[in-house]
Subunit: 159 residues, 2 copies
């Protein structure tokens, strides 16, 4: 299935206003409400739209500190990876975890209230992860770009 510009316009709008009604979207895209409803349903059924979710302001919850954590394991054996991953998914402050190529085995993104809070997270969550050989933390001083979807998606021109 290929997407045309109107599909991309629908997706671009829904990534901003997920609760927009059919008529509302139809006006912005330049379609009738029924044609738009068909397209939107197709985008959902074909899996382009995974879900509709509320975006929370994490700063409002006091989570203003982002930390990148590099973790190297004692060994890269399959058993060690499985043991580590089974535990890291339980860490409540971890929002992302990548298994990486290169020297570092894993990279985590951790959200904390402040530096003191990260010390607590380091002690209660990270240091309890199994098979860890080395942990290296870097603090994010500022977030320059934060997009859910790369703009390249909406720039494609098919059809």
């Amino acid at each position: 299935m290929a997407l045309d510009r109107k599909d991309l316009a629908i997706l671009a709008e829904l990534t901003t206003n997920a609760r927009a009604s059919h008529t509302e979207l139809a006006n912005k895209v330049g379609l009738s409400s029924t044609a738009l409803a068909r397209r939107q349903k197709a985008l959902e059924d074909d899996g382009y739209i995974q879900a509709y979710q509320a975006a929370l302001d994490l700063a409002q919850f006091g989570l203003t500190t982002t930390v990148l954590v590099r973790i190297a394991l004692e060994s890269q054996s399959d058993e060690a990876l499985k043991a580590f991953e089974a535990e890291v998914v339980k860490c409540p402050s971890v929002v992302r975890c990548f298994l990486m190529s290169g020297t570092d085995d894993y990279i985590l993104i951790v959200l904390a209230r402040d530096i003191q809070d990260f010390e607590r997270i380091h002690r209660t969550e990270l240091s309890r992860l199994p098979r860890v050989a080395r942990v290296q933390s870097s603090f994010a001083l500022r977030e320059v770009v934060n997009r859910a979807v790369p703009t390249v998606v909406f720039g494609e021109t098919r059809r």
Copy 2:
């Protein structure tokens, strides 16, 4: 303003089903639709809920490769930072960019179709960024955790 468990339950549910109706949410949380409507509006007005957005399946768009890019600048002067940041926000394949403490100046998260596509991005987007001294790329082999909101948010117990 403090949030109680019901507020957190509302937020937890809305981060999954942003289009849920008042009655639907009310049943899950254990409130009447009118009490829920008041709370939801308060959460929006107080800024806890920033927006409602559709989550796209980026793999459906062919973006299956995540790359972490470490960038060091020639100098950390304010002018160099500003020049770099003004350009990096224009890169269509960059989804996140942090100004970091420590040795690396910036860390980017880039989404690409595959390794060949990242070569193109490296050539057309990254290598054109100003004041760059060193670029180091690491490929994510797998995404172990990917959460929009840390689970710690919903575990708080106030009131």
